[in-house]
Symmetry: C2
Subunit: 256 residues, 2 copies
């Protein structure tokens, strides 16, 4: 069994280290991760410039590779042949913050798993629901163990085609977790605000700032599960068609 | 009526010019588009650096704004207050190539419309199914007229909440179009390949290359509609939950 690991925080992130250490007890592991942070970078396919890849090591001395490409590029590079051994599964993470609600379309962690699913591989994105960015791998241990357990179950039971798992783990000890809940994507409430500043030459520039997003805690959603102490597992599909809307939109097809 | 236009090819792209000229006959138009090409850039929210905005003009002399942010940043900047007048609709395009199948998760054109839908605004992404990149606005005229007609219908009939339209127009004259078809997202077959090269110092670098993607032409899909000469209108939803998969995944929730 051979698992590819990547993330969007960069190869030195402690969440990746904890994930690698947990997964090595389940399978052979190859790590290929970006050389810098790609948070909120979305689903990228770098076609306009070549990508560099170099050997490096995680903080525990284990071998890894890193590239100047995006998280989804890491998956594409590995699957397209940079990694010679066939890959059985792709896991992305562990992100220090939850990826819930509409976050999933921005998230480099989730879109790396999407890239794997597009290629037909089982894929999981794993995130820790932490307000701060934990600086040591220790804080990610429980989430990493949960990810290993879910990876085992996925390899045993398989996933439906074109479906990936978006996993979010509360920042709790294993004893404090209530269990694993299958959830649906919830609704984030973004509280972004535009901050206008002027540079020393009097020219304006703008930050997309504001407060951290909140969420609507409807029962059964990813946001609700985390707030109640459950590990949230949301199956995501690559088909974004709004099937329920098709009937209501027939007026759009009037003759032109 | 006030429509915001953006794209992912940059403010100077002829597809944006054609779109602006068509939409100005329907509503007041504000153009805010990236200052360079962001193709295959995905859904970006630029939080780690400030964004510059400057006034410019389209090739017909009409006013526009441009920024060093991504297409989705353009939408966020405008909605968050850079554009003072309330926005009734957001249209992104016209992209010179089709955005069909799994393209929609990579596409800057589509994710700009997603950003608008997240903020609750009616939104459309418009793409021309051209193999080459047409260099004049003329090639985009028919697609722009179809976009105007669909924008009128959307403003009259509204869209369901959290749904955006992904519109693809064949490269044909209006007389040659068969009509407008409501479609579902089809299946792209990517034929990416890894190309390994060495720089003058003997160090390897990699291109994600290969041939253009093909598609599976199942009836009712975006790919099928284009191949048959129909304008393809696919409603996309922001909720990626794989509802049909939920039942089959209950084994994942066994006690931990």
């Amino acid at each position: 069994m051979h698992i590819l690991l990547t993330n969007d925080d960069g190869v030195d992130a402690p969440g990746l280290l904890a994930l690698a250490q947990a997964m090595r007890r389940l399978a052979d592991v190859t790590v290929l991760a970006p050389d810098h942070n790609w948070s909120a970078s979305g689903h990228v396919k770098t076609l306009h410039r070549p990508l560099r890849v170099r050997a490096t090591a995680l903080a525990d001395g284990s071998p890894a590779m890193t590239t100047d490409g995006a998280p989804s590029d890491c998956v594409a590079l590995a699957i397209l042949g940079l990694v010679e051994r066939p890959i059985d599964m792709v896991i992305s993470g562990i992100n220090p913050h939850a990826n819930v609600g509409h976050d999933v379309t921005y998230s480099g962690t989730v879109t790396a798993a999407m890239e794997a699913a597009i290629s037909g591989l089982p894929a999981m994105a794993v995130s820790l629901d932490s307000a701060e960015v934990p600086s040591s791998a220790e804080a990610y241990r429980t989430a990493a163990e949960i990810a290993r357990l879910l990876a085992e179950r996925v390899l045993r039971h398989r996933l439906p085609p074109a479906v990936l798992l978006n996993i979010n783990v509360p920042l709790r000890t294993r004893d404090e977790l209530r269990g694993i809940a299958l959830t649906r994507q919830g609704l984030r409430v973004y509280r972004d605000a535009l901050v206008r500043r002027e540079d020393p030459r009097g020219r304006p520039y703008y930050w997309i700032g504001g407060e951290a997003p909140t969420g609507i805690l409807d029962q059964g959603t990813d946001l609700w599960a985390l707030s109640e102490g459950w590990v949230s597992v949301t199956p995501l599909q690559l088909d974004l068609t709004a099937y329920p809307a098709l009937d209501s939109l027939s007026a759009l097809t009037l003759p032109i």
